[in-house]
């Protein structure tokens, strides 16, 4: 039996990536290509009175300057601008009219024969505005209730809190963050001789991009095709089609020419971001730390034109047992772009606050932080009133603590030091959903015995190409090099967005089912011959081994795939599957879980924090590829370190503008910031989440990390910093 699932195989796209041959959206060579550079607003709110484009158009090589004044026809209604990850409200419409809704909004697109001419000419576009007062400060805007369905309150949390023996009440804040994938958003639109469009886009769903631009520009089926074979990171930034693809398509239609629009790093701060939040936690417990009341109130930021919501507070009613829970969620609408899902959206914020508050409860009760969580463990998601299909969180605590050496911890803050470095140990739990979305895949077996499996999903670095090849190869008993997986192409069977950690679960199930359907097709084809060695066999009676279909009971009765395809008379045999969640799933809550243990070193004189050691124990069901999965968790931990200590996009409220819009001033972890990171996958069997038993690992690695670091910083210094990021000024 060819077994690929569970093996730490090298990435199938590795050779292309290490030789520079993997091509990203802004890298496709096209004869006669023109370059578009966007001009962005310098104020946060108002109207465009006039655009002066004469100087820009006079630059040699400039083809045209597009704006709301001369753009081609676009749809007028909000519905046409919704996409697969829309928020409630009226989506942003690039170059639609004279209104300025946020600082950095694209107002015009300069198109030129060369990139340099377009870049220079864009600096010459003059904009005269009628400025209106703006508000970008979450503290100075009256909030409104978020249009989100929170779990109903259970018990009486306020009353239980009032009479609880031990109380923790604390407020936590987290700043705006930007995704900043290494590849800036880019689109290359190839204008075909027949007027059709081939669109290379940086996206987490080619399908989403195609439907979006088709609705906006009234394109018919077959007018356009979107391709996205490689994506240079996204982390949520590609879940909604971004403005560069709208501008590029607009210019291509207007000019009847091929156009590329690539955003600058500065422009990567002119669309979605992780919203700023202010959170208030009230935990009531008995003397031993058993939770009696949980109250979690969240204030998030959104734009004026859409209400962005995510699951922030829900986790406080799901992760632990508590019978008295009240959750609240409000939004403050500001003159900024709408926030956007960013790696573990919501969870990473809500669980940061919850897990810090639990650490404060551990201190207040004198119960060890790990023991406190064990004592409050819940095998049931009380929000939904359903048992978890699996929740090996206790194993995460146990194995993580053991690897880390947690039993050696002295609970006293400032109890460990090395010279002028204070050492602290902290921990936290993490959780994420294990979702399953409808997805389709097609499997095609050629006469030479090679298999192509296809689905319009994406690989944003997560390893989709590799794990789908493993799943297909395993199901059909083929070696990896006989299998090719295709993605990122709207001509392929539909897939959901590549996000939410549901790709292995959803697309993986579709791939497995397409391959199983292909086995049935092979068997039926083989049985058309009356003398078939497989005559009378049912799909359950056969197995696929080394490119052959054979009887389990009598392996000598066997046919090669090649023979069966040849027998069919066609050059290949194919089967498609449309996978959906099974009804059984509805009876359960599903999620992945983590326990994160962190050691920090805090310089007593300088206030600098180094995360010297992390052990992350993960329960995410069956791991399809331990090598790529571990990499996902490591990356998540790096993101958690950035969130805890570095990342913050700062607004100047006077200008209403993000100020540190560069990689020199928006700090993310560099190689020197990353020390000893260790990942443990605990064994977790789950036949409910999906037939593969796999939950996905893209998000779970970041959740809990920031809290574990904040808790470790408290243990090192005795200082409780409740505002992220924990920069040195807050420790001195």
């Amino acid at each position: 039996m060819t077994a690929h699932i569970g093996k730490p195989l090298d990435r199938v796209d590795g050779p292309l990536k290490v030789t520079g041959q993997a091509q990203y959206a802004g890298e496709f060579a096209v004869p006669g290509l023109t370059y578009g550079v966007a001009v962005n607003s310098t104020l946060a709110k108002g109207r465009i009175l006039a655009l002066d484009v004469d100087a820009a158009k006079a630059v040699p090589g400039v083809v045209d300057v597009l704006s709301h004044l001369n753009r081609p026809r676009m749809a007028a209604y909000d519905e046409s601008y919704t996409d697969m990850d829309s928020a409630d409200g009226a989506p942003f419409r690039p170059l639609f009219n004279d209104r300025v809704l946020y600082s950095g909004q694209p107002l015009a697109l300069v198109v030129a024969e060369t990139f340099e001419a377009a870049r220079y000419a864009a600096t010459l576009v003059g904009v005269r505005y009628a400025q209106e007062p703006h508000q970008t400060d979450i503290h100075r805007q009256a909030p409104h209730d978020a249009p989100a369905e929170l779990p109903k309150p259970r018990g009486d949390a306020d009353e239980a809190f009032a009479r609880a023996a031990v109380k923790v009440e604390a407020a936590y804040s987290s700043p705006v963050e930007h995704h900043n994938p290494m590849e800036p958003h880019a689109s290359t639109v190839v204008y075909q001789p027949d007027g059709g469009l081939t669109i290379y886009d940086k996206t987490q769903s080619a399908v989403n991009t195609l439907e979006f631009v088709s609705h906006i520009f009234g394109l018919a089926d077959g007018d356009a095709r979107v391709l996205s074979p490689f994506v240079g990171g996204a982390f949520g930034s590609g879940l909604r089609p971004q403005y560069q693809v709208v501008l590029a398509v607009m210019a291509a239609l207007h000019l009847k020419r091929s156009v590329r629009v690539t955003l600058t790093r500065q422009q990567m701060f002119t669309f979605g971001h992780r919203p700023q939040t202010l959170q208030r936690l009230k935990l009531g417990a008995d003397q031993k730390g058993h939770l009696e009341a949980v109250i979690h109130e969240v204030l998030g930021e959104t734009s004026r034109f859409e209400d962005f919501t995510e699951h922030v507070a829900e986790w406080s009613g799901a992760l632990y047992h508590c019978d008295n829970v009240r959750l609240a969620y409000q939004l403050a609408a500001l003159d900024v772009y709408t926030p956007l899902d960013m790696r573990a959206p919501g969870a990473v914020l809500g669980i940061y606050a919850l897990e810090c508050a639990l650490d404060e409860l551990a201190v207040a009760t004198g119960v060890d932080p790990v023991q406190l969580r064990i004592d409050n463990f819940s095998p049931v998601n009380q929000n939904e009133g359903k048992p978890y299909s699996s929740k090996q969180l206790l194993a995460c605590y146990q194995q993580g603590a053991e690897r880390f050496g947690w039993s050696q911890r002295n609970p006293q803050p400032r109890s460990m030091r090395e010279g002028h470095q204070l050492i602290g140990w902290g921990m936290a739990s993490g959780a994420w959903e294990a979702m399953l979305m409808p997805a389709s895949a097609k499997a095609t077996l050629a006469i030479d015995g090679s298999l192509v499996v296809a689905s319009a999903t994406a690989d944003i670095g997560t390893g989709t190409y590799t794990v789908m090849t493993q799943i297909a190869g395993e199901t059909l008993g083929l070696p990896m090099d006989k299998v090719t997986f295709k993605l990122g192409d709207t001509s392929l069977p539909k897939a959901p967005l590549e996000g939410g950690s549901f790709t292995v679960s959803s697309v993986g199930t579709a791939v497995q089912q397409a391959c199983q359907a292909l086995i049935k097709t092979l068997l039926e084809t083989a049985q058309k011959d009356d003398d078939s060695p497989l005559a009378g066999a049912t799909p359950d009676d056969v197995e696929c081994v080394d490119g052959c279909l054979r009887l389990k009971a009598d392996p000598a009765r066997s046919l090669t795939f090649t023979d069966i395809v040849r027998q069919s008379g066609s050059p290949s045999l194919e089967a498609q599957a449309d996978a959906k969640p099974e009804a059984e799933r509805d009876k359960y809550a599903t999620g992945s879980h983590a326990a994160v243990f962190v050691e920090v070193k805090v310089d007593e004189a300088l206030g600098t924090v180094q995360v010297s050691r992390v052990v992350s124990a993960i329960a995410a069901g069956r791991v399809v590829n331990p090598k790529t999965a571990e990499n996902q968790i490591l990356g998540g931990v790096v993101w958690g370190i950035g969130m805890a200590l570095q990342e913050e996009t700062q607004l100047d409220h006077h200008l209403g503008r993000f100020m540190n819009h560069s990689l020199a001033e928006y700090h993310i972890p560099v190689q020197a910031d990353i020390q000893d990171l260790q990942v443990i996958f605990v064994e977790e069997h789950d036949r409910i989440v999906n037939p593969l038993g796999s939950k996905g690992v893209g998000e779970i690695g970041i959740v809990g990390v920031a809290a574990a670091i904040a808790n470790a910083v408290y243990h090192a210094t005795g200082k409780r910093v409740r505002d992220l990021p924990i920069t040195l000024d807050k420790l001195l």
Binding site: P60, M182, E183, R265, Q632, L634
Partner: protein, 173 residues
């Protein structure tokens, strides 16, 4: 020395003629005075292995080797490279055989999305040429000009540790 020649675009300054060795091949190129080495590689020569992550020398995705030294190609004008020997990621493999660092990056899974990878590889080759980096902490410090937003630093470090001895034996790239 670079020579100048008139260009097609009316009113544009003259293009400069430069000669350089690119991935082992002698090349004679006409470049505008404002074109960066990175834009020359990516837009004129279709060598898109060198990536543009920031265009400001802040991310390292565009790192290439000039006369064996690692530089940010976005911070160098093409005209400054007259006579230089330039190696990009496309030139690291020899005779279809991957460079030891490329092989180590695959084996250690030292990337996810792949967008910083070319820069990491060229930077690591430059690091080996510098003859420094004899400890993990030194590698960490000296590779900190190459950002990886996927956060594959642990595996990048392991890959470089694996391949450094072979790189040093192999000499300059």
């Amino acid at each position: 020395m670079s020579a100048t020649s008139p260009t097609a675009g009316a009113g544009l300054p003259a293009a400069h003629s430069i000669s350089l060795t690119l991935n082992g091949q002698p090349r004679r190129l006409e470049v505008q005075p404002w074109t960066t080495l990175l834009d020359l590689l990516r837009e004129q020569l279709q060598l898109t292995g060198s990536k543009k992550g920031c265009d400001h020398g802040q991310c390292g995705a565009c790192t290439v080797l000039v006369n064996g030294k690692r530089i940010n190609a976005c911070l160098s004008l093409a005209v400054m490279q007259d006579g230089a020997e330039i190696t990009t990621v496309e030139g690291l493999a020899e005779d279809g055989r991957l460079h030891p660092l490329q092989q180590a990056f695959i084996e250690r899974d030292a990337f996810q999305c792949g967008y910083c990878t070319s820069g990491q590889l060229c930077s690591a080759v430059g690091l080996a040429n510098e003859g420094r980096a004899h400890s993990r902490d030194e590698i960490r410090e000296l590779m900190s000009g190459n950002l990886c937003r996927c956060g594959a630093y642990t595996n990048i470090l392991a890959a470089i540790e694996d391949a450094l001895p072979a790189c040093r034996e192999g000499g300059r790239s």
